[in-house]
Symmetry: C2
Subunit: 253 residues, 2 copies
DNA sequence: AGGTAAATCTGATCCAGATCAATACTTGCT
DNA sequence: AGCAAGTATTGATCTGGATCAGATTTACCT
């Protein structure tokens, strides 16, 4: 029974070398033969629905996951019940790298909309990286980017005002969408105000007010989850006395 | 002239296999022969004085550095002149991993006291990791820990009160000192109130007041930079309704 | 379609911690 | 030793954003 599913799924598979995200993902810089080897260990699953879990806190660490379509949020649960969002992950971005050290996942990863991921079993990946120097380097780069990204966010959370945080968040999304071939100025948010607030260390009411405020300032046009950036420069200006943390907020070059 | 220095320095060298930090550092899990190979690429420098830079923002990324003795702070400079501390690094901890992705350092690293570091040229390290699977894995683990650590700090900065932040900071230091064979309850801070505040997203006055407050509560005994934790349990209690982020704050197991 | 729960917006109030300010205390420099 | 500059403490005030509360809209379910 699972066998038949696998076969039908194979038709849905997009090989790494035909994947539009390859230049953002593990295959970056690899030659065709190496990509085939990587391709062979990647497990592609059927898309999961909104709310589905990729992994949960405490799960044994076996694989890392690359978002193929959709959006993933990573979060931790506080003892008092509230959740703390630690990241939003767009297509081409990797989740699960935090699990390597302790051999179990230290946060949960959940689909914010219909989402497909490529699962890369980590033990296989480690074997491959030993023989494919370019793959090893790319994995180091991805992990380094993760560190850089989080450092940028730390700086943002440590010092900045609510306005600066939301501006940085929107610009980060803008750049990341742009790098994926989407509009830099018009997109849909797949997360709630609550989740944005949690991620940015703000109350959801503050996020809501800021959207209204940005709209009054003619910086944005907000319709529910749909965002249109009317003036990118104004948004960048809001971050002008900020560390140049923008490029640290998740924009692959 | 530099040649003679190098020779005299050789006497000061501690080979990785004789280094007390080996179990926290890259050699963890390697056999004797592999450690020798690693040892051969490590560059050991004379200790640097307080204030000396290991690298600065924008420097080309060539090496990662392991703190051998002393303390290192990493920080970024904001356009308006203020600096933002992004980390404090004790012996056995690695700095510079953020530079891999963009091939240049995105923060600066400075000695907070007389400090010695082991420099590990990254291109050599990458070559070695290809042939020593255990070393590769350990490097992945170290990078993963870095990610975990920063995630924990993000959560702390996003949600917690000033009191919780300082408690988490002190406990993180306590655990890390303990893991290095020092007292878990009595140590010297090598950083200023200002720097602690910057790291925790607090004003230096707030940090100062909290030290006073903790002292009044009989949790701490503070004398300038010298800290004695009188009641570890009380300190842990302050974090009780916190994400279990403590183990994410830099405590190698 | 209609009903219920969830998400969002908006206003009013409050407070933790920033900022401003003044005074010690250290430490380094000549 | 003595001055200057950095560092820490403590107090007084102010404010950005949290929290509380309510109204409104939207999404989901059968």
């Amino acid at each position: 029974m699972p066998q038949s599913k696998v076969i039908s799924l194979n038709k849905l598979k997009v090989a790494c070398k035909n994947c539009g995200l390859a230049k953002l993902c593990l295959p970056l810089g690899l030659d065709s033969g190496d990509i085939d080897q990587l391709d062979a260990i990647v497990q592609r699953h059927r898309p999961m629905h909104r709310g589905g879990h990729i992994f949960q806190t405490g799960d044994k660490f076996r694989s890392i996951y690359v978002v193929k379509t959709g959006t993933v949020k990573t979060y931790t649960q506080c003892p008092n019940g509230t959740e703390q969002v630690v990241g939003f992950h767009l297509p081409g971005e990797v989740v699960g790298l935090d699990g390597i050290e302790s051999d179990k996942h230290i946060c949960s990863a959940k689909a914010l909309e219909t989402t497909a991921v490529c699962e890369v079993p980590f033990d296989h990946l480690e074997e491959l990286t030993s023989t494919i120097p370019g793959l090893q380097h790319q994995l180091f780069r991805l992990m380094s980017r993760e560190i850089t990204k989080e450092t940028g966010l730390m700086v943002l959370l440590g010092k900045s005002t609510a306005e600066e945080r939301l501006a940085a968040f929107l610009l980060s999304l803008s750049v990341r969408f742009h790098n994926r071939g989407f509009s830099a100025t018009e997109f849909n948010l797949s997360m709630s105000r609550q989740e944005i607030g949690s991620y940015l260390g703000l109350a959801l009411e503050t996020v809501s007010r800021l959207f209204t405020h940005f709209q009054e300032e003619k910086i944005l046009l907000v319709d529910r989850k749909h965002i249109q950036i009317l003036d990118l420069d104004l948004l960048y200006d809001l971050l002008s006395n900020q560390t140049t943390c923008l490029d640290k907020l998740g924009a692959p070059s």
